[in-house]
Structures are given as C-alpha cells and as structure tokens.
Amino acid sequence: MNWDIAKKNFFRQGLRASLNVFVTAFSIIALIFMLSLLNGFQAQATRNVVNTDVGGGHYIAPGFDILSPTEWEDHTVKIPKSLSQLDDKDKAEVLVQQGQLYPNRRLYPVQIRGISMNQSLLKLPLDNLFNFQKPIEDLIPAVIGAKMAKKTHLNKGDILTLKWRDKSGAVDAKDILIIDVGDMLNPRVDDGVVWLRLDHLRFLTDRAEEVSWVAVRNYVGPILGFEYQSVELLMADLLSLWRQDRINSKILWAILMVLVCISVFNTQILNIFKRQKEIGTLMALGMEPKRIVRIFTLEGGLAAFWALFVAILLGLPFFIWFHSVGFDVSHLSESTLPIRETIYPDYQPLEIIYSLVIVFVLIVTAAWLPVKKITKMNPTMALRGRAIK
C-alpha cells in the first residue's frame, strides 16, 4: 500500500524527480570514476617502483642510506653466499657510488648504479648494456633514463667524462658512452642516475664482489652483516603520499555527497510545502503521521534507487570504454611520481558496493530528515495550507 502510493507520488513529480535522479546518478558515476582512477594510479605507480627498484625488499649493507650520498662509499660489503646463491630471477645485486658527470663539460653530480646483468627480478631497460661485449679500456658503456637525458641534454651515442673515486679514495675518470636512453618509469632510478654493469663498476672502483644492497623477490630470513628493509619501509614516502591522496579523495567524496544530499533534502522540503493540503487530507482521513513520513521517505528512497539504475545504465558503458582507452598522464613525466604512462582505472567491486550502500543510506536519510516534521503537523492547519510558514 505504502509502496504503491509512494511510487505514484514519485512519478507524478515528473521533471523534479528526474532531475534529482540524474544529479544523484552523475554523482555516483563521478564517485566511482574518481575512486577507480585513484586505485589505478596508485596500483600502477606502486607496481613501477616495485618492478624497477624495490622488488620484494632489500638486504642492505649496514649503515647504508640512499639519502646520504657522501657516505655511500663507506657502506659497501661483500655479498654473502646465502644471497649470492639465490637464483638470478630472485635477486638483483646493486652497487651504488657517487660520481661526477661532465655533460657539455659542466659538472653534474650523479649516482653511479651498477646492477648485475643476469638478474631478471627488476625490469629495467638495460638490454643494450647486457649486450655490450667490448672491453672497457677505451669507453665504459652506460645507460641513462629519459628524464636524466632531457636534463643533461644527452642522447644515445654521446661520449662524456665520468669521474669517481676508487675504494682507496684515489680519484679516477674515464669517458663513458651512452649506449641507450631508457624509459625508466620510476624517477628514483632515472633522475641523476647513471647505470653501469655491476662487473664494470666493481672493476673501476676496486670493489670485487661488493654490493650496496641486494634486492630480493622474497624475504629469506636474517643474514649476518645485512639489514633487511621491507617493501613498506622502502616505499614509506610513497605509501604516505597514497594515504594522503586517499584522505583528499574522501574530502572530494564528501563534497559530492553533500551536494547530492542537499538536492534530495531541498526536493523533500519543497514536496512537503507544496503538498501540505494532501498531507492534511491524509491525516484527516485517519492516516497516521508516521505512515505518511514512511511514504515520503520511500519516495526519496525511490529517487536513490532510480539514481543507481541510471548510474549503472550510463556508467557501465562509460567505465568499460574508459578502461579500454585509459587516461594519458604523460604530463607527469616532469614530476617525481613513479608513473609516466596511461592510467587505467582499477574497479574494486567491494569498494563500489560499500560506496553505493553509503550513498543510498545518505539519500534516504536526506529524504527522511525534512519529512519527519510531518509528525508534528496540525491537520487543520495543513488542510488550510498553513502548517509550514
């Protein structure tokens, strides 16, 4: 009975109800889009960092801190058997040293990073380095990232001087050949980094078998003389940024919901005001005020239901289409975010269901709040259209 009356009343509202439905539907679409895009962005950026740098964690030389470049040379150790015996697909040995590059004969401080060529744990564009078989008496082969190449105005095939110190502290320098400019995706392994073969860097710095850290696929237990740093620790700054992003997205989410709720709230107030005589008549005929409240709330609920329906009808094809084309974020190549590709939204069903339930509850509450005053209405005044001034 309540349902029938509510349904009739809802459809009689015509344009007013449909506007409400469309505003809510578009807000739901925007909400899901925003959340999914953020999910996709964060997932891809995290994947990029893991694939190019972090792996499944690092076993680092004690005291080594990537943020203290002046101490890198002091914290290198020989790789223990327990780590060197790991399969090449499960580990990547890395040696980091300070260096000075002279592009166009101008000083440019760099991080010289040597990585084992047989590793397949980290996905880096170093194939040309691996394939370079010439002796390094004349030129040392090196790879730099696209961002680094842009900053230093270097191109593939350029020859320039690199200066470093050996293990004893003696200054050394030699010309390097840029054999490739790779798309690193992750600024941490691109900006200011010169990639060399690990065997070359070890030879040049007299650091046979030494590493700064070993990236591993999985934690293999405590190893004497090494500190293990988990993915969470290595990505602490990024994860903190993601948490802040989530908070920001929630603020946007709240603003959208407030707008939707105001729209529903406003419609319901207008309904009561315009339909005072109808309410008065129903009360005079003996309908309980609470039942009238339920009918009006149900009308609001119907708006939410139709909004969900329209959101699915319009949103589903949009989301499917967007998932196929993605969102081009090549403009972020200048930023320090580890992403330089097309973002594809990551739709999380559970998250979408939670969001929709919250939207539904909020709309029903926004529909109920203005109509609850019906219980206090004087039927006589309502019949005369003067119950609400």
């Binding site: 470049p69 002046t70 101490e71 040379e73 002091d74 300070q98 000075q100 002279y102 166009n104 004969r105 101008r106 000083l107 001087t161 200066k163 110190r165 050996d166 004893s168 502290g169 003696a170 200054v171 050394d172 320098a173 030699k174 010309d175």
Partner: protein
C-alpha cells in the same frame, strides 16, 4: 764480408755517439733529488699568506680575499675577509679534518670524508685540494720523463707516481726548472691516466731566500671555461703563529 763488418761497427759507434748525451743527461738528473730540492724551496715549517682567490666559472668572476696561517702539513687556518657574503668565514684544518665556520649561521661544520671532495666555494679546487699541503717528494716517486724548452728555458719533466694508493691523484707530471728549483706547471691525472687538473705557477719572486710563485692558476680540465687563480699578496715564512690559531675555539664570531 769485411765491408759489412766495418759498416756495422760504424753504425754502432754512430748510435753510441748520438745517444750518449741523453744517457748522460738522464744519469745526471736524479728525479727524486730534484723534487726534494723543489720541496725545500717551496716548503717552510710555518707560513702566512694574505691572498686573493679569483674564481672564474665561465659566466661570472668572484674574488675572495683571505688570510691563511699554515704550520707543517697538518695544521692550517684561513680567514675570509671579502666579499660580504663570505666575510668572516673561517676554515680550520687539523690533521685530516676540516672545520668551516660561517658567521651567518654562527655554526661550525665538520667537513670530513667524502665532503672534502666537493668544490670549495664554487672554485676549481676541492676542499681536499685546498687542504693538500704535503711534500711531493715524500708522497710520490719521481722518474725523469724528458727535457722541454719553453721560452728558452729548459724544463725537466718528471712523472710522479703515488707511494700510497690512498693518495687522491695517483699520478702527476711536473715541469721543473732545475736551475732555480721552481715549478712551471703541474698536471694531475686520474688513475686511468686521464688528465684532470692543470696548475700553473707564475710570477716567481725571491722572498726570504726562496723563489716563490706569487700566482697559482688552477684549471679543472673536465669543466669548460673555468679557472681559479690564487694570488699571494703577502707571504711570510717561518713566523711564530700563536697556538690558539689552530684551536677549534677560534671558530667564533
């Protein structure tokens, strides 16, 4: 047969005759001794220098004035007097450590380890280069390379190889005038043999029985159009330097 024998004999005589002056010269020049004599000329137990450091980075020229007091190889103290930006900056070298005091922050900072390799105030010298004051004859093994005439002066070129593998520049080459035991120029090489820095010694003057350069020009050859000129306006040798000059307590406003 006899003709061939006579020809061979004559060739041998001719060879010995032509090469013998060079052999005699090489024997005459004791590279290590010459290097020691150069050190003895330049070196004194204590030294005071009031000078200017003219830093030309290719775009801009800055001049820093400073007073420096040096004692042996391990203690030196410098006080920068200008420009306004650097005025009051003090540097104290004690053994292998270098402290810098800046009046702006009113703090002293220890420059040690790898920080010493950074460029000093944007110059072609690193803190390490600036601190370096060791006797070449003690740190390097010298060998005779050749004689080169420059502006009618015959300079002896010596190749220096570091005795210790921890020495920053493993090889150097110096042009020495054997007559007055002065250095015309010095080249510093990387371990691989790449030429990194060139130092020119100019404006030699006789000061307190020594022949000392008034100007030193440092060039970082890996950089383009840069050079740092160190001009010594006042030089005093073997003077008494108060002990508190080499105490950390001097690093105050």
């Amino acid at each position: 047969m006899d003709t061939i024998y006579i020809k061979k004999l004559l060739s041998l005589f001719f060879f010995i005759f032509t090469i013998s002056p060079l052999l005699n010269l090489a024997e005459a020049i004791d590279a290590q001794k010459l290097l020691k004599e150069v050190d003895d000329n330049l070196w004194s137990n204590t030294k005071f220098i009031s000078g200017r450091l003219i830093i030309d980075n290719g775009r801009k020229v800055r001049t820093l004035t400073q007073d420096s007091w040096m004692e042996g190889v391990e203690r030196s103290y410098s006080h920068y007097k200008s420009p306004a930006r650097e005025k009051g900056t003090k540097m104290l070298k004690l053994k292998g450590k270098l402290w810098i005091y800046t009046p702006r922050t009113n703090r002293k900072i220890l420059i040690a380890g790898h920080l010493l390799r950074q460029s000093m105030m944007g110059s072609d010298l690193s803190y390490e280069d600036m601190m370096e004051d060791h006797k070449l004859s003690q740190s390097y093994i010298a060998t005779f390379d050749r004689i080169q005439s420059i502006k009618e002066v015959k300079y002896t070129i010596l190749n220096l190889v570091a005795r210790d593998k921890k020495t920053t520049y493993q090889t150097r080459r110096v042009w020495i005038n054997p007559k007055d035991k002065t250095i015309l120029q010095e080249e510093r090489f990387a371990k691989t043999g790449k030429l990194l820095k060139k130092i020119l010694f100019k404006d030699y003057e006789s000061i307190d029985d020594r022949i000392f350069p008034r100007t030193m020009i440092f060039k970082d050859l890996l950089k383009k159009n840069t050079q740092t000129t160190y001009k010594f306006d006042v030089i005093k040798f073997d003077l008494d330097i108060p002990d508190h000059y080499f105490s950390i307590s001097i690093l105050r406003r």
